[in-house]
Symmetry: C2
Subunit: 439 residues, 2 copies
């Protein structure tokens, strides 16, 4: 079997005005959809981060991909995932918007190609992706509700080309009370059993209050996690950890409270000294294998957030899971704004990774069914879980009309690169810039 065609589709999807320490989500999230076509006419699909830059990088790989055997892509593309060694500081995601760390660019490219190749292989041999690499350890994968402080308004800009953007399904949420209503609605729709709050947006006291109100509203059995994306100093991180010691217990965690491994290690040491065992999770201080030795040595991180889009694909996530299991770390999964192809890739990766010990993140509830490119519409999330489809490969086919719609919108919209800080300046505060720590 040989790859005879590569198709790179840049699409734009409606995205609500979600806030984080990086700034404000633009009206459109950008995605890239890859198709690898084999000489016997089977097509493998994947979805990853979008924008002009990554699409050009895929095009540059075309000569290596055409003619390659999908079963042997690791050998053909090994240099892509063999990264230069570097210090944690060199590699850190801390000062880059998600998905733009240049030092992880190769792993992101390789991820999308590996997943499309696995979809192709699965379709060719009649097996789901999760059963191609050792076999599934679970038939369904739990995801958590991913709550954001947000402004009112749907994903598009009013009028003109953007009037097909999604409705404002959840409304404004810039207070603890409105955030709790957002989570309750999301749980009612999807049945999530875990909740993650994207923090680093309001003053820490308000975010602490939000978690407390979530605990009261949801009862004692829903694990809660809070993620300010490094917005806090070590001092503030410790204070939040102390304030939320009960709320984050029993399956919750404190994710990237402060910047860099040294900061995380200091927070961990001070919390432990205060008798607080709330684990620290990370997908900012630790974004690649090169970060792990120092993270382990310094006890800076107790839970790593994998993501098959970032870490080099499904097999690299399995490796990461074994590393975490071996070194006593937990494993959760990171997410970006995405459609159903990515959701299923994440689900297959999680199903084939025994050590995955926490419900995965997903932005999926924030995307619109009107933008879905999966034939048959949105992938169901039931009781907070996505089931592995009883079909080969990832278990999805593309809706090519919808794909064409996404491509056309990418062509006509003004957003071809993620820049949450620019959006923040445009819509909220003309002088805004990302400051770490902010509190």
């Amino acid at each position: 079997m040989r790859i005879v065609e590569l198709k790179v589709h840049s699409i734009a999807i409606a995205d609500p005005p979600l806030r984080s320490s990086y700034g404000l989500h633009a009206p459109y999230a950008l995605r890239t959809v890859l198709e690898l076509v084999s000489d016997d006419g089977v097509t493998g699909v994947s979805e990853t981060l979008g924008g002009d830059a990554i699409a050009q990088q895929f095009e540059a790989l075309r000569p290596k991909l055409l003619g390659a055997d999908p079963f042997r892509l690791a050998g053909a593309l090994l240099p892509l995932i063999e990264q230069l060694p570097g210090t944690s500081l060199d590699r850190s995601q801390t000062f880059h918007p998600p998905g733009t760390n240049p030092l992880d660019a190769n792993a992101r490219l390789y991820s999308a190609i590996e997943i499309a190749a696995l979809d192709l292989i699965g379709k060719a041999v009649g097996q789901p992706v999760c059963d191609l690499l050792g076999g599934r350890v679970r038939d369904e994968v739990p995801f958590s509700a991913y709550a954001f402080y947000k402004h009112a308004g749907g994903g598009g800009e009013s009028g003109g080309q953007d009037n097909d953007a999604r409705d404002d399904e959840y409304g404004e949420a810039l207070t603890p009370e409105s955030l709790v209503r957002q989570v309750q609605r999301m749980i009612a729709l999807y049945g999530f059993l875990d909740v993650k709050l994207k923090a680093g947006v309001l003053a820490p006291e308000l975010e602490i209050e939000t978690i407390r109100q979530l605990r009261v509203a949801l009862g004692p059995d829903v694990p809660l996690r809070i993620d300010p994306n490094c917005a806090w100093s070590v001092e503030t991180s410790v204070k939040v950890g102390e304030a939320l010691v009960e709320e984050l217990a029993d399956g919750g965690y404190l994710e990237d409270p402060t910047a860099e491994l040294a900061g995380m290690a200091a927070v961990r040491a001070r919390l432990l000294a205060a008798g607080i065992e709330t684990p620290l999770a990370s997908n900012v201080a630790v974004t690649s294998f090169a970060d792990l030795p120092e993270a382990v040595r310094a006890s800076a991180v107790q839970i790593v957030l994998c993501d098959p889009h970032y870490w080099g694909g499904v097999q690299q996530v399995q490796h990461l899971g074994k590393i975490c299991q071996t070194f006593g770390l937990g494993l959760s999964m990171h997410s970006n704004s995405h459609l159903g192809v990515s959701l299923l890739a994440m689900t297959h990766a999680a199903a084939a990774t025994p050590h995955l010990s926490y419900a995965c993140d997903t932005h999926y509830p924030w995307q619109s069914e009107r933008d879905e490119i999966v034939a048959g519409g949105r992938v169901p999330i039931v009781n907070g879980c996505v089931r592995i489809p009883d079909k080969p490969g990832l278990g999805v086919d593309l809706d090519y009309d919808q794909l064409a719609r996404g491509r056309e919108r990418y062509r006509t919209c003004r957003y071809h690169m993620r820049d949450d800080a620019a959006e923040m300046r445009k819509h909220v505060d003309p002088d805004w810039r990302r400051v770490l720590p902010r509190w």
Copy 2:
């Protein structure tokens, strides 16, 4: 696809009187050959350690294997590879003959089942095993000459049932000079480019002299490694490391000079303090994933010897490779007395493990072509390398007449459990027992 039949074949193969710190190889090495048959009539094969105990353990797994989907064995058998956490001391191979550490028993069982399932899957989908799990990174795998001090005599005992045992192809080697002749003959036959000396048998001065004579005889470009299986004290290990600093440079290593991680760490620290960077390798202090955190923390080991028979199969070896790559350790491969099915499993595992950074060990030259169970005879080793066959699965079919011969010999021989110390008492020294450190 479902597994409808499990066949467990215990066989005995001729083995020469090789010496190590464990004692003396018995006239027969014991192997187990597994066959997994699918409902569409495809058979997957693997070979592993032998003896009555492991055969009974496979039989006990029969209810879990029959009806299972080979693509989903990881999920079905996960408890087998999920081992209880334990200290390094609990888990250490140090005080057990190779392949008998009870705490790694599950990983050994799982290995053989995974490899047979991969052979079955490969045959079913028309792909070599090394291309089923991410794809090969090399088409041929280098092995090293594995030199042993040995007594004269072939593998069988003279007369009677044993007279079909192999000839004494290499003769006695209990001096530096005869050991050099053994290596030269082995290199002439197989083209090996690396040499490993099994040490811990003669006084350290004689083993140092052996390495020095090997260096003179083979010239400067052949990496040399020496492995006394923990026979030395820390003091002696350091002295040998100092004496052989030049001979073990440039791709060589000092393997398990002394017992346990604390001892290895002490040797490493003292060698470094003396300015000697010879890396320490291990397949005794480190035999499972549970050993790795302390090995890394204490800098006790710089090279881990994987072995798909011990570590849980091909995928677990890939995980181990990624761990070693991530934490700056080298990766080599361990061997036991084996036939061609195991040799190909080792070759496929090595081909699919990018980080493998040293030539693999193999006992294959010590086994007889008269015992080979692979249809068509011995697997060729050319220029020190085994090529991945251009066939699906492992690339071998069984010779069932030869398999029956091995079974019959197992039935009639008196050896059903490896006990190198008992052989030593029987043939060399009636009072012999394994003492660590001996020197």
